[in-house]
Protein backbone atom coordinates (compact mmCIF):
# COMPACT_ATOMS: atom_id res chain seq x y z
CA UNK A 1 0.00 0.00 0.00
CA UNK A 2 1.31 3.40 -0.85
CA UNK A 3 0.91 6.30 1.43
CA UNK A 4 -2.21 8.36 0.64
CA UNK A 5 -1.05 11.46 -1.17
CA UNK A 6 -1.73 14.93 -0.06
CA UNK A 7 -5.03 16.32 -1.34
CA UNK A 8 -4.44 18.37 -4.45
CA UNK A 9 -4.11 22.08 -4.10
CA UNK A 10 -7.37 23.93 -4.92
CA UNK A 11 -7.64 25.00 -8.53
CA UNK A 12 -6.93 28.70 -8.69
CA UNK A 13 -9.61 29.40 -11.32
CA UNK A 14 -12.84 27.58 -11.82
CA UNK A 15 -12.99 27.08 -15.60
CA UNK A 16 -16.68 27.84 -15.59
CA UNK A 17 -16.28 31.25 -14.05
CA UNK A 18 -12.99 32.51 -15.33
CA UNK A 19 -12.91 36.12 -16.10
CA UNK A 20 -10.29 36.34 -18.83
CA UNK A 21 -11.42 37.67 -22.19
CA UNK A 22 -12.28 35.05 -24.77
CA UNK A 23 -10.82 35.38 -28.22
CA UNK A 24 -13.48 37.43 -29.94
CA UNK A 25 -12.08 38.23 -33.35
CA UNK A 26 -14.66 37.96 -36.13
CA UNK A 27 -14.43 34.70 -38.00
CA UNK A 28 -15.14 34.17 -41.68
CA UNK A 29 -16.80 30.89 -42.56
CA UNK A 30 -17.71 29.40 -45.89
CA UNK A 31 -21.15 27.86 -46.12
CA UNK A 32 -21.49 25.88 -49.28
CA UNK A 33 -21.29 25.61 -52.24
CA UNK A 34 -22.04 21.98 -51.47
CA UNK A 35 -23.77 21.93 -48.15
CA UNK A 36 -26.67 19.71 -47.11
CA UNK A 37 -28.73 22.69 -46.05
CA UNK A 38 -28.05 24.75 -49.15
CA UNK A 39 -30.63 24.35 -51.87
CA UNK A 40 -28.77 24.17 -55.06
CA UNK A 41 -25.18 25.20 -55.22
CA UNK A 42 -24.64 28.56 -53.61
CA UNK A 43 -21.84 29.74 -51.43
CA UNK A 44 -22.29 32.07 -48.49
CA UNK A 45 -19.27 33.80 -47.03
CA UNK A 46 -20.43 34.50 -43.52
CA UNK A 47 -18.64 36.68 -41.01
CA UNK A 48 -19.41 35.60 -37.48
CA UNK A 49 -19.05 37.29 -34.17
CA UNK A 50 -19.48 34.40 -31.81
CA UNK A 51 -22.66 32.85 -33.13
CA UNK A 52 -24.07 36.05 -34.55
CA UNK A 53 -23.87 36.74 -38.23
CA UNK A 54 -22.50 40.21 -38.77
CA UNK A 55 -22.21 39.96 -42.51
CA UNK A 56 -23.04 37.49 -45.23
CA UNK A 57 -22.15 37.64 -48.88
CA UNK A 58 -23.81 35.21 -51.27
CA UNK A 59 -21.71 34.08 -54.19
CA UNK A 60 -23.65 32.63 -57.10
CA UNK A 61 -22.85 31.38 -60.55
CA UNK A 62 -21.99 27.76 -59.91
CA UNK A 63 -24.93 26.64 -62.03
CA UNK A 64 -24.52 29.29 -64.73
CA UNK A 65 -25.29 27.68 -68.07
CA UNK A 66 -25.46 30.73 -70.29
CA UNK A 67 -29.24 30.73 -70.66
CA UNK A 68 -29.33 34.02 -72.55
CA UNK A 69 -26.45 33.21 -74.87
CA UNK A 70 -27.78 29.76 -75.70
CA UNK A 71 -31.25 31.14 -76.34
CA UNK A 72 -29.94 33.80 -78.68
CA UNK A 73 -28.48 31.03 -80.84
CA UNK A 74 -31.59 28.86 -80.93
CA UNK A 75 -34.88 29.13 -82.74
CA UNK A 76 -37.87 30.37 -80.81
CA UNK A 77 -39.14 26.92 -79.91
CA UNK A 78 -35.70 25.58 -79.08
CA UNK A 79 -35.58 27.98 -76.14
CA UNK A 80 -38.40 26.11 -74.40
CA UNK A 81 -36.24 23.31 -72.94
CA UNK A 82 -33.88 25.93 -71.53
CA UNK A 83 -36.77 27.57 -69.73
CA UNK A 84 -37.65 24.23 -68.12
CA UNK A 85 -34.30 24.25 -66.45
CA UNK A 86 -34.71 27.70 -64.98
CA UNK A 87 -37.02 26.59 -62.22
CA UNK A 88 -36.97 22.83 -62.30
CA UNK A 89 -39.60 22.52 -59.57
CA UNK A 90 -42.29 24.37 -61.49
CA UNK A 91 -41.19 24.17 -65.13
CA UNK A 92 -44.58 24.72 -66.67
CA UNK A 93 -44.86 28.20 -65.21
CA UNK A 94 -41.58 29.08 -66.93
CA UNK A 95 -42.74 27.56 -70.22
CA UNK A 96 -45.92 29.60 -70.07
CA UNK A 97 -44.10 32.79 -69.13
CA UNK A 98 -41.71 32.51 -72.03
CA UNK A 99 -44.25 31.47 -74.62
CA UNK A 100 -46.55 34.31 -73.61
CA UNK A 101 -43.71 36.66 -74.49
CA UNK A 102 -43.43 35.12 -77.95
CA UNK A 103 -47.20 35.33 -78.39
CA UNK A 104 -47.15 38.97 -77.35
CA UNK A 105 -44.43 39.72 -79.92
CA UNK A 106 -46.38 37.96 -82.66
CA UNK A 107 -49.74 39.29 -81.52
CA UNK A 108 -51.40 35.88 -81.57
CA UNK A 109 -53.86 34.60 -79.00
CA UNK A 110 -53.79 31.26 -77.29
CA UNK A 111 -56.79 29.01 -77.87
CA UNK A 112 -59.24 28.87 -75.02
CA UNK A 113 -58.86 25.20 -74.16
CA UNK A 114 -55.08 25.55 -74.17
CA UNK A 115 -55.37 28.46 -71.73
CA UNK A 116 -57.23 26.21 -69.33
CA UNK A 117 -54.72 23.42 -69.82
CA UNK A 118 -51.88 25.84 -69.08
CA UNK A 119 -53.65 26.99 -65.94
CA UNK A 120 -54.18 23.39 -64.85
CA UNK A 121 -50.55 22.44 -65.36
CA UNK A 122 -49.29 25.72 -63.97
CA UNK A 123 -51.25 25.49 -60.74
CA UNK A 124 -50.17 21.88 -60.24
CA UNK A 125 -46.58 23.07 -60.64
CA UNK A 126 -47.19 25.91 -58.20
CA UNK A 127 -48.44 23.46 -55.59
CA UNK A 128 -45.37 21.27 -56.21
CA UNK A 129 -43.06 24.24 -55.77
CA UNK A 130 -44.68 25.28 -52.50
CA UNK A 131 -44.67 21.69 -51.23
CA UNK A 132 -40.96 21.44 -51.95
CA UNK A 133 -40.28 24.63 -50.06
CA UNK A 134 -42.40 23.64 -47.07
CA UNK A 135 -40.96 20.14 -47.00
CA UNK A 136 -37.45 21.53 -46.99
CA UNK A 137 -38.19 23.93 -44.13
CA UNK A 138 -39.57 21.04 -42.13
CA UNK A 139 -36.69 18.75 -43.00
CA UNK A 140 -34.04 21.20 -42.01
CA UNK A 141 -35.73 22.13 -38.76
CA UNK A 142 -35.91 18.48 -37.77
CA UNK A 143 -39.44 17.63 -38.85
CA UNK A 144 -38.61 14.83 -41.23
CA UNK A 145 -42.22 13.63 -41.39
CA UNK A 146 -43.26 16.91 -42.95
CA UNK A 147 -40.77 16.37 -45.72
CA UNK A 148 -42.11 12.88 -46.39
CA UNK A 149 -45.71 14.12 -46.47
CA UNK A 150 -44.80 16.95 -48.82
CA UNK A 151 -42.90 14.66 -51.13
CA UNK A 152 -45.73 12.15 -51.17
CA UNK A 153 -48.12 14.87 -52.27
CA UNK A 154 -45.63 16.15 -54.81
CA UNK A 155 -45.16 12.68 -56.24
CA UNK A 156 -48.91 12.31 -56.72
CA UNK A 157 -48.98 15.57 -58.66
CA UNK A 158 -45.85 14.84 -60.64
CA UNK A 159 -47.43 11.58 -61.73
CA UNK A 160 -50.36 13.59 -63.07
CA UNK A 161 -47.90 15.94 -64.78
CA UNK A 162 -46.12 12.97 -66.32
CA UNK A 163 -49.41 11.64 -67.68
CA UNK A 164 -50.27 15.08 -69.01
CA UNK A 165 -46.96 16.16 -70.55
CA UNK A 166 -44.94 12.97 -70.87
CA UNK A 167 -42.18 14.06 -68.51
CA UNK A 168 -41.92 14.68 -64.80
CA UNK A 169 -39.61 17.67 -64.71
CA UNK A 170 -38.45 18.73 -68.17
CA UNK A 171 -41.86 19.37 -69.66
CA UNK A 172 -41.43 21.80 -72.60
CA UNK A 173 -45.17 21.44 -73.01
CA UNK A 174 -46.33 24.81 -74.26
CA UNK A 175 -46.27 25.88 -77.88
CA UNK A 176 -46.96 29.22 -79.50
CA UNK A 177 -50.75 29.70 -79.29
CA UNK A 178 -51.35 26.47 -77.41
CA UNK A 179 -49.87 23.38 -75.88
CA UNK A 180 -48.19 20.29 -77.30
CA UNK A 181 -50.93 17.76 -76.63
CA UNK A 182 -54.36 17.53 -75.12
CA UNK A 183 -54.90 15.83 -71.79
CA UNK A 184 -55.27 12.09 -72.08
CA UNK A 185 -58.70 10.50 -71.85
CA UNK A 186 -59.84 10.22 -68.24
CA UNK A 187 -56.98 12.34 -66.91
CA UNK A 188 -59.28 14.91 -65.35
CA UNK A 189 -60.81 12.19 -63.21
CA UNK A 190 -57.34 11.03 -62.13
CA UNK A 191 -56.55 14.59 -61.06
CA UNK A 192 -59.85 14.91 -59.21
CA UNK A 193 -59.10 11.66 -57.41
CA UNK A 194 -55.64 12.66 -56.23
CA UNK A 195 -56.44 16.23 -55.18
CA UNK A 196 -58.22 15.30 -51.91
CA UNK A 197 -55.16 13.34 -50.82
CA UNK A 198 -52.90 16.31 -51.63
CA UNK A 199 -55.14 18.56 -49.59
CA UNK A 200 -55.23 16.04 -46.77
CA UNK A 201 -51.44 15.89 -46.69
CA UNK A 202 -51.26 19.67 -46.71
CA UNK A 203 -53.63 19.75 -43.75
CA UNK A 204 -51.45 17.20 -41.98
CA UNK A 205 -48.41 19.40 -42.53
CA UNK A 206 -50.41 22.36 -41.30
CA UNK A 207 -51.39 20.63 -38.09
CA UNK A 208 -47.87 19.32 -37.53
CA UNK A 209 -46.03 22.59 -38.02
CA UNK A 210 -48.20 25.67 -37.84
CA UNK A 211 -48.95 25.52 -34.13
CA UNK A 212 -45.79 23.69 -33.15
CA UNK A 213 -43.99 25.46 -30.33
CA UNK A 214 -40.52 24.57 -31.59
CA UNK A 215 -41.32 25.56 -35.15
CA UNK A 216 -42.83 28.88 -34.10
CA UNK A 217 -39.86 29.67 -31.89
CA UNK A 218 -37.51 29.01 -34.74
CA UNK A 219 -39.39 31.00 -37.36
CA UNK A 220 -41.42 33.74 -35.71
CA UNK A 221 -39.69 37.14 -35.91
CA UNK A 222 -36.77 35.65 -37.76
CA UNK A 223 -35.70 37.31 -40.98
CA UNK A 224 -38.20 40.16 -40.72
CA UNK A 225 -38.47 42.66 -43.52
CA UNK A 226 -40.98 45.47 -43.97
CA UNK A 227 -43.10 45.93 -47.05
CA UNK A 228 -41.41 49.10 -48.31
CA UNK A 229 -38.00 47.64 -47.86
CA UNK A 230 -39.02 44.42 -49.58
CA UNK A 231 -40.20 46.37 -52.62
CA UNK A 232 -36.94 48.30 -52.60
CA UNK A 233 -35.09 44.99 -52.75
CA UNK A 234 -37.27 43.84 -55.61
CA UNK A 235 -39.23 41.18 -53.73
CA UNK A 236 -42.27 39.67 -55.42
CA UNK A 237 -44.40 36.62 -54.83
CA UNK A 238 -44.91 34.94 -51.45
CA UNK A 239 -41.94 36.75 -49.91
CA UNK A 240 -43.48 40.13 -50.73
CA UNK A 241 -47.02 39.13 -49.80
CA UNK A 242 -45.75 37.90 -46.44
CA UNK A 243 -45.00 41.54 -45.64
CA UNK A 244 -48.61 42.50 -46.34
CA UNK A 245 -48.16 44.03 -49.80
CA UNK A 246 -50.93 42.81 -52.07
CA UNK A 247 -49.25 42.19 -55.38
CA UNK A 248 -49.99 39.07 -57.36
CA UNK A 249 -49.76 39.27 -61.14
CA UNK A 250 -52.71 36.89 -61.42
CA UNK A 251 -54.94 39.50 -59.75
CA UNK A 252 -53.18 42.77 -60.65
CA UNK A 253 -52.96 41.99 -64.36
CA UNK A 254 -55.05 38.86 -64.94
CA UNK A 255 -53.37 37.09 -67.82
CA UNK A 256 -54.52 33.85 -69.43
CA UNK A 257 -57.96 33.05 -67.95
CA UNK A 258 -57.20 33.88 -64.32
CA UNK A 259 -59.96 36.48 -64.25
CA UNK A 260 -62.56 33.70 -64.54
CA UNK A 261 -61.64 31.96 -61.30
CA UNK A 262 -62.72 32.75 -57.80
CA UNK A 263 -59.65 32.69 -55.59
CA UNK A 264 -58.06 34.96 -53.04
CA UNK A 265 -54.55 36.14 -52.36
CA UNK A 266 -53.38 35.31 -48.84
CA UNK A 267 -51.37 38.05 -47.17
CA UNK A 268 -49.01 38.03 -44.23
CA UNK A 269 -48.44 40.76 -41.72
CA UNK A 270 -44.97 40.40 -40.20
CA UNK A 271 -42.79 39.54 -43.17
CA UNK A 272 -40.93 36.91 -41.18
CA UNK A 273 -40.06 33.31 -41.93
CA UNK A 274 -43.26 32.01 -40.35
CA UNK A 275 -45.40 34.21 -42.60
CA UNK A 276 -43.55 33.09 -45.67
CA UNK A 277 -44.21 29.51 -44.64
CA UNK A 278 -47.89 29.85 -43.71
CA UNK A 279 -48.55 31.85 -46.87
CA UNK A 280 -47.38 28.98 -48.99
CA UNK A 281 -49.70 26.56 -47.16
CA UNK A 282 -52.56 28.93 -47.87
CA UNK A 283 -51.58 29.35 -51.50
CA UNK A 284 -51.68 25.60 -51.98
CA UNK A 285 -55.33 25.69 -50.91
CA UNK A 286 -56.06 28.57 -53.28
CA UNK A 287 -54.37 26.78 -56.16
CA UNK A 288 -56.48 23.75 -55.32
CA UNK A 289 -59.58 25.92 -55.68
CA UNK A 290 -58.38 27.18 -59.06
CA UNK A 291 -57.71 23.61 -60.22
CA UNK A 292 -61.24 22.45 -59.39
CA UNK A 293 -62.80 25.46 -61.13
CA UNK A 294 -60.59 24.99 -64.19
CA UNK A 295 -61.62 21.35 -64.40
CA UNK A 296 -65.27 22.33 -64.19
CA UNK A 297 -65.01 25.11 -66.77
CA UNK A 298 -62.76 23.23 -69.23
CA UNK A 299 -64.12 24.09 -72.68
CA UNK A 300 -63.85 21.85 -75.74
CA UNK A 301 -61.99 23.02 -78.79
CA UNK A 302 -58.59 23.05 -80.46
CA UNK A 303 -55.44 23.09 -78.33
CA UNK A 304 -53.30 25.00 -80.81
CA UNK A 305 -53.90 27.44 -83.63
CA UNK A 306 -54.55 26.27 -87.18
CA UNK A 307 -52.24 28.97 -88.51
CA UNK A 308 -49.46 26.83 -89.97
CA UNK A 309 -46.95 29.62 -89.76
CA UNK A 310 -46.83 29.12 -86.01
CA UNK A 311 -48.05 25.61 -85.21
CA UNK A 312 -47.26 22.27 -86.80
CA UNK A 313 -50.02 21.08 -89.12
CA UNK A 314 -51.87 17.86 -88.21
CA UNK A 315 -50.16 14.72 -89.46
CA UNK A 316 -52.96 13.96 -91.99
CA UNK A 317 -52.18 17.22 -93.73
CA UNK A 318 -48.43 16.65 -93.60
CA UNK A 319 -48.74 13.29 -95.31
CA UNK A 320 -51.52 14.14 -97.74
CA UNK A 321 -50.98 17.70 -98.93
CA UNK A 322 -48.07 19.65 -100.31
CA UNK A 323 -48.95 22.68 -98.19
CA UNK A 324 -48.81 20.56 -95.08
CA UNK A 325 -45.39 19.17 -95.98
CA UNK A 326 -44.07 22.63 -96.71
CA UNK A 327 -45.37 24.11 -93.49
CA UNK A 328 -43.97 21.22 -91.52
CA UNK A 329 -40.58 21.46 -93.22
CA UNK A 330 -40.31 25.21 -92.75
CA UNK A 331 -41.29 25.02 -89.10
CA UNK A 332 -38.86 22.23 -88.33
CA UNK A 333 -35.94 23.60 -90.32
CA UNK A 334 -36.34 27.34 -89.73
CA UNK A 335 -38.71 27.70 -86.85
CA UNK A 336 -41.33 30.36 -86.54
CA UNK A 337 -40.77 33.94 -87.59
CA UNK A 338 -41.47 36.58 -85.03
CA UNK A 339 -41.77 40.21 -86.13
CA UNK A 340 -39.44 42.88 -84.86
CA UNK A 341 -40.11 44.23 -81.42
CA UNK A 342 -39.23 44.34 -77.78
CA UNK A 343 -41.49 43.20 -74.96
CA UNK A 344 -41.28 42.58 -71.28
CA UNK A 345 -43.75 39.88 -70.30
CA UNK A 346 -44.47 38.98 -66.70
CA UNK A 347 -46.35 36.16 -65.09
CA UNK A 348 -46.74 34.95 -61.53
CA UNK A 349 -44.18 32.24 -60.97
CA UNK A 350 -44.20 30.15 -57.84
CA UNK A 351 -41.64 32.40 -56.14
CA UNK A 352 -42.68 35.72 -57.57
CA UNK A 353 -42.91 37.68 -60.74
CA UNK A 354 -41.24 35.81 -63.55
CA UNK A 355 -40.33 38.20 -66.32
CA UNK A 356 -38.81 37.77 -69.74
CA UNK A 357 -37.33 40.71 -71.60
CA UNK A 358 -37.38 39.54 -75.20
CA UNK A 359 -36.12 41.39 -78.26
CA UNK A 360 -36.72 40.13 -81.78
CA UNK A 361 -35.17 41.42 -85.00
CA UNK A 362 -37.47 39.38 -87.19
CA UNK A 363 -34.87 36.85 -88.24
CA UNK A 364 -36.12 33.64 -86.67
CA UNK A 365 -34.17 33.70 -83.44
CA UNK A 366 -34.59 35.64 -80.21
CA UNK A 367 -32.19 38.54 -80.68
CA UNK A 368 -31.85 39.14 -76.98
CA UNK A 369 -33.58 37.45 -74.11
CA UNK A 370 -33.00 38.04 -70.45
CA UNK A 371 -34.96 36.55 -67.63
CA UNK A 372 -36.09 38.28 -64.47
CA UNK A 373 -35.82 35.31 -62.16
CA UNK A 374 -37.94 35.98 -59.07
CA UNK A 375 -35.30 34.43 -56.87
CA UNK A 376 -32.46 36.71 -57.90
CA UNK A 377 -33.59 39.93 -56.19
CA UNK A 378 -34.73 37.92 -53.17
CA UNK A 379 -31.40 36.16 -52.84
CA UNK A 380 -29.59 39.48 -53.16
CA UNK A 381 -31.42 40.57 -50.00
CA UNK A 382 -30.32 37.52 -48.03
CA UNK A 383 -27.52 39.45 -46.27
CA UNK A 384 -30.13 41.95 -45.12
CA UNK A 385 -32.46 39.19 -43.89
CA UNK A 386 -29.94 37.22 -41.88
CA UNK A 387 -27.90 40.04 -40.47
CA UNK A 388 -27.84 39.90 -36.69
CA UNK A 389 -29.29 36.41 -36.46
CA UNK A 390 -27.54 33.29 -35.27
CA UNK A 391 -26.05 30.78 -37.67
CA UNK A 392 -28.88 28.39 -36.85
CA UNK A 393 -31.42 30.94 -38.09
CA UNK A 394 -29.75 31.15 -41.45
CA UNK A 395 -31.15 27.80 -42.52
CA UNK A 396 -34.90 28.51 -42.01
CA UNK A 397 -34.51 31.95 -43.57
CA UNK A 398 -32.71 30.52 -46.55
CA UNK A 399 -35.38 27.83 -46.89
CA UNK A 400 -38.25 30.25 -46.69
CA UNK A 401 -37.06 32.41 -49.58
CA UNK A 402 -36.94 29.18 -51.61
CA UNK A 403 -34.00 29.99 -53.78
CA UNK A 404 -33.86 27.90 -56.95
CA UNK A 405 -30.34 27.68 -58.30
CA UNK A 406 -31.42 27.14 -61.88
CA UNK A 407 -33.24 30.42 -62.26
CA UNK A 408 -30.99 32.60 -60.14
CA UNK A 409 -27.84 31.46 -61.89
CA UNK A 410 -29.40 31.13 -65.33
Amino acid sequence: MTEPTEPAAPVPHDPLTFDEDLLSAPMTVNLGPSHPAMHGVVRLVVTLNGETITKAIPEIGFLHRGFSKSSENSTWHQVLPYTDRLNYVSPLLNNTGYIMGVEKLIGIKCTERAEYLRVLGGEICRICDHLTCIGAIGLELGAYTVFLYAIEARELLWDRIAELCGARVTLSWTRVSGVANDMPHGWDQLLRDCLPRVLELTDEIDTLLSANRIFIDRTRDVGVISGDEAIDWGFTGPCLRATGVNYDVRKAHPYSVYDRFDFSIPLGSHGDTYDRYILRIEEIRQSHRILLQALDQMPPGPIVTDDWRYALPPKEDVFNSIEGVMAHFKLIMEGIHVPEGEVYVYTEGANGELGFHIVSNGKGKPYAIQVRAPGLPILSALPRLIQGHAVADLIPIFDSINMIGGEVEQ
Binding site: D232, A252, G355
Partner: protein, 220 residues
Protein backbone atom coordinates in the same frame (compact mmCIF):
# COMPACT_ATOMS: atom_id res chain seq x y z
CA UNK B 1 -52.77 54.74 -68.99
CA UNK B 2 -49.08 54.43 -69.44
CA UNK B 3 -49.17 57.00 -72.20
CA UNK B 4 -50.05 59.54 -69.52
CA UNK B 5 -46.88 58.48 -67.76
CA UNK B 6 -44.80 59.11 -70.88
CA UNK B 7 -46.37 62.57 -71.17
CA UNK B 8 -45.59 63.21 -67.53
CA UNK B 9 -41.92 62.45 -68.05
CA UNK B 10 -41.78 64.46 -71.25
CA UNK B 11 -43.39 67.42 -69.54
CA UNK B 12 -41.06 67.27 -66.56
CA UNK B 13 -37.88 66.62 -68.53
CA UNK B 14 -38.32 68.12 -72.01
CA UNK B 15 -34.57 68.13 -72.53
CA UNK B 16 -33.77 64.68 -71.25
CA UNK B 17 -36.27 62.62 -73.24
CA UNK B 18 -34.97 61.99 -76.73
CA UNK B 19 -37.74 59.70 -77.84
CA UNK B 20 -40.57 57.44 -76.84
CA UNK B 21 -42.57 54.70 -78.45
CA UNK B 22 -45.00 51.97 -77.64
CA UNK B 23 -44.96 48.39 -78.84
CA UNK B 24 -47.57 45.77 -77.94
CA UNK B 25 -48.64 47.84 -74.98
CA UNK B 26 -45.15 48.39 -73.57
CA UNK B 27 -44.30 52.07 -73.23
CA UNK B 28 -40.67 53.02 -73.72
CA UNK B 29 -38.97 56.31 -72.93
CA UNK B 30 -35.49 56.97 -74.24
CA UNK B 31 -33.56 59.35 -72.04
CA UNK B 32 -30.13 60.91 -72.14
CA UNK B 33 -27.51 59.20 -70.07
CA UNK B 34 -26.72 62.29 -68.00
CA UNK B 35 -30.32 62.61 -66.85
CA UNK B 36 -30.96 58.95 -66.14
CA UNK B 37 -30.72 59.15 -62.37
CA UNK B 38 -32.92 62.23 -62.18
CA UNK B 39 -35.61 60.72 -64.39
CA UNK B 40 -35.70 57.49 -62.43
CA UNK B 41 -35.69 59.35 -59.13
CA UNK B 42 -38.66 61.37 -60.37
CA UNK B 43 -40.50 58.22 -61.46
CA UNK B 44 -39.87 56.61 -58.10
CA UNK B 45 -40.87 59.56 -55.92
CA UNK B 46 -43.58 61.31 -57.88
CA UNK B 47 -47.00 60.35 -56.46
CA UNK B 48 -48.49 60.08 -59.94
CA UNK B 49 -45.80 57.68 -61.10
CA UNK B 50 -44.94 55.97 -57.78
CA UNK B 51 -42.76 53.32 -59.41
CA UNK B 52 -41.28 51.72 -56.36
CA UNK B 53 -40.47 48.36 -57.94
CA UNK B 54 -37.50 47.98 -60.25
CA UNK B 55 -38.33 44.76 -62.01
CA UNK B 56 -35.22 44.23 -64.04
CA UNK B 57 -32.43 45.93 -65.90
CA UNK B 58 -31.76 44.38 -69.27
CA UNK B 59 -29.08 45.10 -71.84
CA UNK B 60 -29.09 44.73 -75.61
CA UNK B 61 -26.20 44.75 -78.06
CA UNK B 62 -27.29 45.90 -81.54
CA UNK B 63 -24.08 44.89 -83.36
CA UNK B 64 -25.65 42.20 -85.56
CA UNK B 65 -29.17 43.60 -85.64
CA UNK B 66 -29.26 43.83 -89.44
CA UNK B 67 -26.68 41.27 -90.46
CA UNK B 68 -27.71 38.20 -88.52
CA UNK B 69 -28.72 35.24 -90.62
CA UNK B 70 -32.24 33.93 -90.74
CA UNK B 71 -33.70 30.94 -88.95
CA UNK B 72 -31.99 27.72 -89.99
CA UNK B 73 -28.82 29.61 -90.77
CA UNK B 74 -28.37 30.06 -87.07
CA UNK B 75 -26.12 27.02 -86.83
CA UNK B 76 -23.69 28.59 -89.27
CA UNK B 77 -23.48 31.80 -87.33
CA UNK B 78 -22.64 30.15 -84.04
CA UNK B 79 -18.92 30.63 -84.60
CA UNK B 80 -18.82 34.36 -85.27
CA UNK B 81 -15.62 34.54 -87.36
CA UNK B 82 -13.50 37.60 -86.98
CA UNK B 83 -13.49 38.51 -90.63
CA UNK B 84 -17.28 38.53 -90.62
CA UNK B 85 -17.24 40.90 -87.68
CA UNK B 86 -14.79 43.18 -89.46
CA UNK B 87 -17.18 43.37 -92.38
CA UNK B 88 -20.06 44.14 -90.03
CA UNK B 89 -20.78 47.84 -90.18
CA UNK B 90 -20.50 49.45 -86.79
CA UNK B 91 -23.86 50.29 -85.35
CA UNK B 92 -23.94 53.37 -83.20
CA UNK B 93 -25.17 53.70 -80.56
CA UNK B 94 -24.38 50.04 -80.22
CA UNK B 95 -25.87 49.20 -76.82
CA UNK B 96 -28.88 50.13 -74.86
CA UNK B 97 -29.88 49.43 -71.30
CA UNK B 98 -33.56 49.03 -70.44
CA UNK B 99 -34.89 49.67 -66.95
CA UNK B 100 -38.23 47.97 -66.40
CA UNK B 101 -40.08 49.94 -63.74
CA UNK B 102 -43.43 49.13 -62.18
CA UNK B 103 -45.83 50.71 -59.73
CA UNK B 104 -47.49 48.29 -57.32
CA UNK B 105 -50.03 50.88 -56.18
CA UNK B 106 -50.99 52.24 -59.60
CA UNK B 107 -50.40 49.11 -61.67
CA UNK B 108 -48.57 50.73 -64.50
CA UNK B 109 -45.23 50.00 -66.07
CA UNK B 110 -42.65 51.98 -67.98
CA UNK B 111 -39.38 51.08 -69.62
CA UNK B 112 -36.63 53.67 -69.47
CA UNK B 113 -33.97 53.18 -72.07
CA UNK B 114 -30.47 54.60 -72.20
CA UNK B 115 -28.38 54.30 -75.31
CA UNK B 116 -24.62 53.79 -75.16
CA UNK B 117 -21.93 54.20 -77.79
CA UNK B 118 -19.45 51.38 -78.11
CA UNK B 119 -16.46 53.56 -77.21
CA UNK B 120 -18.03 54.84 -74.00
CA UNK B 121 -19.98 52.25 -72.03
CA UNK B 122 -20.16 54.16 -68.79
CA UNK B 123 -23.47 55.05 -67.20
CA UNK B 124 -24.53 56.21 -63.76
CA UNK B 125 -25.53 53.62 -61.18
CA UNK B 126 -28.99 53.77 -59.66
CA UNK B 127 -27.91 51.70 -56.69
CA UNK B 128 -28.75 54.62 -54.42
CA UNK B 129 -32.39 54.57 -55.61
CA UNK B 130 -33.13 50.86 -55.64
CA UNK B 131 -31.26 48.30 -53.59
CA UNK B 132 -32.17 45.61 -56.10
CA UNK B 133 -30.20 47.49 -58.77
CA UNK B 134 -27.05 46.24 -57.09
CA UNK B 135 -27.15 42.74 -58.55
CA UNK B 136 -28.74 43.72 -61.86
CA UNK B 137 -25.93 46.18 -62.50
CA UNK B 138 -23.36 43.60 -61.55
CA UNK B 139 -25.10 41.19 -63.93
CA UNK B 140 -24.89 43.68 -66.79
CA UNK B 141 -21.28 44.47 -66.00
CA UNK B 142 -20.61 40.75 -66.10
CA UNK B 143 -22.43 40.06 -69.36
CA UNK B 144 -21.89 43.29 -71.33
CA UNK B 145 -19.09 45.14 -69.60
CA UNK B 146 -21.12 48.25 -68.86
CA UNK B 147 -19.43 50.34 -66.23
CA UNK B 148 -21.87 51.67 -63.68
CA UNK B 149 -20.32 54.68 -62.06
CA UNK B 150 -20.96 54.91 -58.35
CA UNK B 151 -21.70 51.23 -57.82
CA UNK B 152 -20.15 50.13 -54.50
CA UNK B 153 -18.99 46.71 -55.60
CA UNK B 154 -18.92 46.37 -59.36
CA UNK B 155 -17.71 42.79 -59.75
CA UNK B 156 -18.82 39.92 -61.90
CA UNK B 157 -22.01 38.34 -60.60
CA UNK B 158 -22.28 34.94 -62.28
CA UNK B 159 -18.88 34.41 -63.86
CA UNK B 160 -15.48 34.29 -62.20
CA UNK B 161 -13.00 37.15 -62.10
CA UNK B 162 -10.52 35.61 -64.56
CA UNK B 163 -13.17 35.23 -67.28
CA UNK B 164 -12.12 37.10 -70.40
CA UNK B 165 -14.67 39.06 -72.36
CA UNK B 166 -18.35 39.69 -71.86
CA UNK B 167 -20.45 36.82 -73.17
CA UNK B 168 -23.68 38.57 -74.13
CA UNK B 169 -21.92 40.93 -76.49
CA UNK B 170 -22.68 39.83 -80.01
CA UNK B 171 -19.01 39.59 -80.97
CA UNK B 172 -18.41 36.96 -78.30
CA UNK B 173 -18.63 33.57 -80.11
CA UNK B 174 -21.03 31.20 -78.43
CA UNK B 175 -18.53 28.34 -78.39
CA UNK B 176 -15.52 30.32 -77.29
CA UNK B 177 -13.36 28.44 -74.81
CA UNK B 178 -11.88 30.08 -71.78
CA UNK B 179 -8.44 29.46 -70.35
CA UNK B 180 -8.19 27.17 -67.38
CA UNK B 181 -7.64 29.17 -64.27
CA UNK B 182 -4.52 28.18 -62.35
CA UNK B 183 -4.92 26.52 -59.01
CA UNK B 184 -4.80 28.75 -56.02
CA UNK B 185 -3.11 27.86 -52.79
CA UNK B 186 -5.52 27.38 -50.00
CA UNK B 187 -3.36 26.51 -47.05
CA UNK B 188 -6.14 26.29 -44.49
CA UNK B 189 -7.87 23.47 -46.25
CA UNK B 190 -6.66 19.94 -45.72
CA UNK B 191 -7.67 17.66 -48.53
CA UNK B 192 -7.43 13.96 -48.96
CA UNK B 193 -6.29 12.22 -52.10
CA UNK B 194 -8.24 12.91 -55.23
CA UNK B 195 -8.72 15.69 -57.70
CA UNK B 196 -8.26 19.22 -56.59
CA UNK B 197 -5.58 21.32 -54.99
CA UNK B 198 -3.41 19.23 -52.77
CA UNK B 199 -4.81 16.10 -54.32
CA UNK B 200 -3.99 14.38 -57.59
CA UNK B 201 -3.22 17.67 -59.26
CA UNK B 202 -6.16 17.81 -61.63
CA UNK B 203 -7.62 21.25 -62.32
CA UNK B 204 -10.55 22.02 -60.09
CA UNK B 205 -13.69 23.65 -61.30
CA UNK B 206 -13.16 27.30 -61.83
CA UNK B 207 -14.99 28.51 -58.80
CA UNK B 208 -14.30 25.88 -56.22
CA UNK B 209 -14.47 26.30 -52.50
CA UNK B 210 -10.98 27.50 -52.01
CA UNK B 211 -11.05 30.51 -54.25
CA UNK B 212 -10.61 33.89 -52.67
CA UNK B 213 -12.93 35.62 -55.08
CA UNK B 214 -15.35 36.90 -52.51
CA UNK B 215 -14.01 39.72 -50.48
CA UNK B 216 -15.62 39.69 -47.04
CA UNK B 217 -14.86 43.39 -46.77
CA UNK B 218 -16.97 44.35 -49.73
CA UNK B 219 -19.62 46.99 -48.97
CA UNK B 220 -17.61 48.30 -46.02
Amino acid sequence: MSQALVDLVREKFPEAVTGSHSHRGDEVVIVRREDLVEVIRFLRDDPQADMKLLRQIAGVDLLTWRTEMTGGGSLASIEAPEYALQKTPQVEPRFYVAYNLYSITRHHALRVRVELRSDDVKLPSIHSLYKTADWWERYLYDMFGFEFEGHPNLQRLLLYPEFQGHPLRKDYPVRKRQLLVPELDFPDLIRGPGPGPGGAGLPMSQTHVGRHNVDPDAYD
